[in-house]
Symmetry: C2
Subunit: 270 residues, 2 copies
């Protein structure tokens, strides 16, 4: 049995990917994690494919300076746009959040009708749709962009009648589509799980790609023989491209431990 | 009398500064304008001073390649954070949107109580407050950040009960402050003028820095002897740092003429 105690690199456009890092830390407590949040250039959701690929390349170069053994693209837009480009350049495994979430939705749908909500970039790219229908062409996939969800989450309006009203509008068409699985296709959205669940009703299974990604990562590390040793004392480091105060406040509101040290770097140099 | 037909450089974090460009074009029809919207790195409102200065310097270097005779920082956050740093490096005049708006509010307030709404960055910087109280220390300035206003405008929700509800919450405390002038301290906010006006009531004068900035620019060009000739056929060019489709749609919804040609550049190279 081979082992590696090197850290896992996790990156996102900002704070959202912390929901993925949180699942990795919970499910794989022996693994060290280096997290990078591109807070100087957030959000990615409304930016073009070329820009997202350029940004992702810079981040991967930075993470390589930390000797990561695997990279998790904890951002739906970057997973949709940049996974292939990044994968082609690296000799370590890379996973995004799109495939694990899509796979679970395919496994759980009974009526072969899946919904997907996310940012404009994620929905427009149709990568979830293409991936799902590549595996099972009989499945219908219905997408809906929800651009106000991220700013509402970052305003802390998780349980609020305004958020309920906006969610009702965004989800109105989806409710009429008779879907039985709905992918929460943006890393902020698991924090709106109860709002979305209330509107969609009990008949719709909500798929959280953050959870599924951590499961897939665990399997991947085993396959490649690069898990950390069971008694390995894991370490967590956090880097951002802009001032760390806001990141720190959000991180400490959702992570299971207190984060004090967050380092700011100039990502454009990588 | 001296003249210059060189263009005026105008920049913003994205589409918002078009409300300023629109005023310049309306008030100074003989002047050519080169507009740059940093759509790859939008928004600036939640980013730090150092990052905003770095971004502004890159943009100024780009505008200099277009031989601009003056620069307008059509972004409140960049005006608040980067005006001095940029000014110190240039031998052409630079104006921001903060001072013209603040001056008008000082001139119009009768009870010496001014309100200011804007992004987190603009409000936290307190630059409006410092500037106003530097001129008249008896004036009280009350600021309030409205982080959801920009995403609501970009969703086109200009006249909407949800926008009314969010505006009511944001403006609740300000209403109790007995202000008689309110500065719309973000370039998107003039598009919410009627919503804000309805809530604040007729007793509160709304100050639009876009309008005031164009007035100040006209005076500045005259002082420096660098106005365009009266019969000069002005030209308008638009550049962005990300894909131009979304910019084009928004631009064409608010500008008085149709914009077809928008060029994308890599701003990180400047």
């Amino acid at each position: 049995m081979k082992y590696s105690n090197a850290p896992i690199g996790v990156f996102d456009s900002g704070v959202g990917g912390l929901t993925v890092a949180r699942e990795i830390i919970r499910q794989l407590p022996q693994e060290s994690v280096v997290y990078f949040g591109d807070t100087a250039r957030v959000p990615y959701g409304s930016k073009s494919k070329d820009t997202i690929i350029r940004y992702s390349r810079q981040i991967v170069h930075f993470l390589q300076t930390k000797n990561v053994k695997a990279i998790v693209i904890a951002c739906n837009t970057a997973s949709a746009f940049a996974l292939e480009a990044v994968e082609a350049e690296l000799d370590i495994p890379v996973i995004g959040v799109v495939k694990p979430g899509a796979k679970t939705a395919i496994e759980t749908t009974k009526n072969k009708r899946i919904g997907i909500i996310g940012t404009e970039g994620t929905i427009k790219s149709e990568l979830y749709t293409k991936y799902i229908r590549g595996i099972d062409p009989e499945i219908e996939v219905v997408g809906k962009a929800c651009p106000l969800f991220c700013p509402l989450v970052e305003e802390g309006m998780l349980n609020d009648p305004v958020t309920d009203e906006i969610a009702s509008r965004y989800l109105k068409d989806l409710k009429e589509e008779n879907i039985d699985s709905l992918i929460l296709g943006c890393t902020h959205y698991p924090l709106l799980r109860s709002t979305v669940g209330k509107i969609m009703g009990e008949g719709v299974n909500l798929v959280n790609p953050a959870y599924e990604t951590a499961v897939s990562l665990g399997k991947l590390l085993e396959e490649k023989g690069i898990c950390a040793e069971a008694e390995h004392q894991s370490e967590y480091s956090f880097y951002v491209s802009d001032a760390e105060e806001k990141f720190k406040a959000f991180a400490n509101s959702i992570m299971p431990f207190h984060i004090e040290l967050i380092e700011q770097i100039n990502i454009e140099e990588y």
